[in-house]
Symmetry: C2
Subunit: 199 residues, 2 copies
DNA sequence: AGGAAATCTTGACAATGTCTAGTTTGGTGA
DNA sequence: TCACCAAACTAGACATTGTCAAGATTTCCT
């Protein structure tokens, strides 16, 4: 009827993307507890059972939202890396700061991505997005000598360290004397990491 | 009436403890998603609204269960420390292993304790139990020189590292080539930590 | 144009947390 | 001893949530 082709295909067009966006907004505005199937549907302007046709059910929707989160997560870390000194250790510290920035900027999304595995139903797209985020950090760790005989040990150690920091700070598990818990001093916290010998 | 005084005070006696125990069992047997108010009540043999009189509501019950979890958590780490070589670094590695052991032995409880802060309503008892567990690790880190100017930086670094490892391994976020993800080599992963100069 | 498939709506259902009112129990004081 | 009272627990109802079945509407292919 109307003459705006991309505006409202009247079967809503791309409900899938709209529902994911609604979920991200609810997460940012009201937290994880308010992220329900029906709330996402209402925000997108559709009935409460419309999401099931695109995501199967709640786990599918949450997985899609978390997958989108991993994309944003990788973007955040990549942006931090781009703006930093190209020296390997500076790059690594920038990645860590990007990691913390994301956790602080999107706490509820961060929780959904990492702390509620039982509520998700990982599919190929989700695994790909999560792996892509992992690879950003792994690439940044590649110049360094592994800390054990496992070639991935540096990534694991750094990832665990920064993830633990972000997770514990967000959960408020650190002692209250912590006045400024915003950004740890990664230069001091990260151990000395010698560069690999062979290129 | 009957002659077994501790058995059944018939107003159930200590429903509070029974509900916490039921919650721990449900958590161990069926996971976090099955841990509901009504399931705990049914397992303890009381009506579905009995728990509210002792815990206020679901958040109160979950908090009490998580608080009990922190007690078990501290016990696990203390036991690991007792059985280890008394040298500071050996003590620290033992604590880390105890941490991982707990996470592996009680995955759902671990998730409740650390990954669902929005569902808990921390009270004094909970904070005390969580702090006590923190202190076990802090005491073990005390012999070492802080890694930054913050005197608590060593505890934070070690706690974050081991928590990140436990959390990521449990969430299955590490790459699949990880055949034996059971217990990391903390001797290699933990950075060299010089002892404090002054006692 | 016509029909098939995708998309979305409506209505119902079971499960859950919470609230209110009522019932039972155990202790305490006259 | 016994009556009373507060605590402990039950019973029922209600709103919210996720899921499912059935039907209506739109889009697309031929």
């Amino acid at each position: 009827m109307t003459s705006d082709p991309p505006r409202k295909p009247h079967h809503h067009g791309n409900l899938r993307a709209a529902l994911i966006q609604s979920g991200l907004e609810i997460l940012a505005e009201s937290g994880l507890s308010k992220l329900t199937l029906r709330a996402c549907a209402a925000r997108a302007g559709v009935s409460h059972s419309a999401p099931a046709h695109h995501f199967g059910g709640l786990p599918g929707l949450l997985t899609a939202i978390a997958g989108r989160g991993f994309e944003i997560f990788a973007d955040t870390m990549n942006a931090a890396r781009r703006d930093a000194d190209p020296a390997p250790r500076a790059q690594l510290i920038a990645i860590c700061r990007g990691y913390m920035d994301f956790a602080e900027a999107h706490p509820a999304l961060f929780t959904l991505m990492f702390n509620t595995p039982a509520r998700l139903a990982p599919d190929d797209a989700f695994v790909a997005a999560a792996d892509a985020a992992y690879d950003v950090l792994a690439d940044t760790c590649a110049p360094f000598e592994p800390v054990t005989d496992d070639p991935r040990s540096t990534e694991m150690m750094v990832w665990a360290l920064v993830h633990g920091l972000a997770s514990l700070l967000q959960g408020g598990r650190f002692k209250p004397e912590n006045d400024r818990m915003d950004m740890p001093d990664f230069e001091a916290i990260l151990p000395p990491l010698p560069l690999r010998a062979d290129p």
